[in-house]
C-alpha cells in the first residue's frame, strides 16, 4: 500500500523497486525481510538494513541458561523476550534462545518482569 502512493514515477526507480519486491518473495536464509522498499520520507521504519542472525555468522550453536550476559541482550527492559524481527535472529536460534531465557527465569537468573539487575 505504501508503494502505490509513491509519487516518483521514473522508470529507474520503478524498475529497482520491482526487482526488490521480486527478491522479497524468494525465501531468504536469514532474517525476515520486512515489507521493504518503503522509501517514503515519512514512512515507517521497515527494513532499514538487512539483518543477519548473529549466531549463524559466529556459528554459536547452543545457549546455556547460565550465561546471563548474553541472554540479557535479548531481553527487554520490561523483562520480555525481544521478538525476532527486531533482533534479526533466525528461527531455530530464536527458539533455543527463548528456551534458555525461560530456564534462566526459572532459576532466578533473569526476572520474569522488571529490569534485569
Amino acid at each position: 500500500m505504501a508503494e502505490e502512493t509513491k509519487p516518483v514515477a521514473s522508470p529507474a526507480a520503478e524498475g529497482g523497486e520491482r526487482v526488490e519486491r521480486g527478491e522479497r518473495r524468494t525465501p531468504r536464509p536469514y532474517g525476515q525481510g520486512g515489507p521493504g522498499a518503503a522509501r517514503d520520507a515519512g514512512g515507517r521504519k521497515f527494513f532499514r538494513r538487512k539483518k543477519v542472525c548473529k549466531f549463524c555468522t559466529e556459528k554459536i550453536d547452543s545457549f546455556n541458561y547460565k550465561d546471563v550476559r548474553l541472554l540479557a541482550q535479548f531481553v527487554a527492559e520490561s523483562g520480555k523476550i525481544v521478538p525476532r524481527r527486531l533482533t534479526g535472529v533466525c528461527t531455530p536460534h530464536q527458539r533455543r534462545l527463548s528456551e534458555a531465557i525461560k530456564q534462566a527465569r526459572n532459576i532466578a537468573l533473569l526476572p520474569f518482569a522488571g529490569r534485569a539487575s
Binding site: K59, D61, Q103, A108
Partner: protein
C-alpha cells in the same frame, strides 16, 4: 545409563559453609548409591536473585553435573525438595545437546580439513556428506 544432567540449585544465603558441604556429600552419596557418577561440583557463590524467592533476595548457587539414569535424578530432586535450605532447583539434561554440538563440530572440522587439503575434489565430497548427516 549415560545421560548427563546438570542440576543447579539455590541455597539460602545464611547457610554455613559446613552445612553446604554436608548437603553436597548427601547428594553425592545418593548419586553413587543409585549407580551414577558425579562429574563436577561448582559453587557459584552468592548472587543476587532476579526476584524474591521465599522472601530471600540473595542466594548461593551450586551447580552439580551428574551422569546417571532418570530415576536417580528423580531421587535427587526429591531430596532437594525436602531439604529446607534449598529454595530453588533446576535440572537440565545436557547429553543430547552435547551430542549435537559435537556432531556439528565434527562436520565443520571435517569440511575445513578436506577443503584445506584438496580444494576441487573435496568440496563435492563434503557437500555430499553434510546433507546426508544432517538428514
Amino acid at each position: 545409563m549415560n545421560r548427563t544432567y546438570e542440576l543447579m540449585f539455590i541455597v539460602r544465603p545464611d547457610m554455613a559453609e559446613e552445612e553446604q558441604d554436608k548437603l553436597l556429600s548427601t547428594l553425592e552419596a545418593a548419586v553413587t548409591s543409585s549407580g551414577g557418577q558425579v562429574k563436577n561440583v561448582e559453587r557459584m557463590g552468592k548472587r543476587r536473585l532476579a526476584y524474591t524467592v521465599r522472601r530471600f533476595n540473595d542466594g548461593i548457587y551450586v551447580l552439580l553435573t551428574v551422569e546417571g539414569s532418570g530415576g536417580m535424578v528423580h531421587e535427587l530432586e526429591r531430596r532437594l525438595r525436602v531439604t529446607e535450605p534449598v529454595i530453588k532447583f533446576l535440572t537440565v539434561r545436557i547429553d543430547e545437546t552435547q551430542k549435537r554440538i559435537d556432531k556439528l563440530k565434527a562436520i565443520r572440522d571435517a569440511k575445513r580439513r578436506t577443503s584445506a587439503a584438496q580444494a576441487p575434489a573435496a568440496t563435492p565430497e563434503a557437500a555430499g556428506e553434510a546433507p546426508a548427516v544432517t538428514a
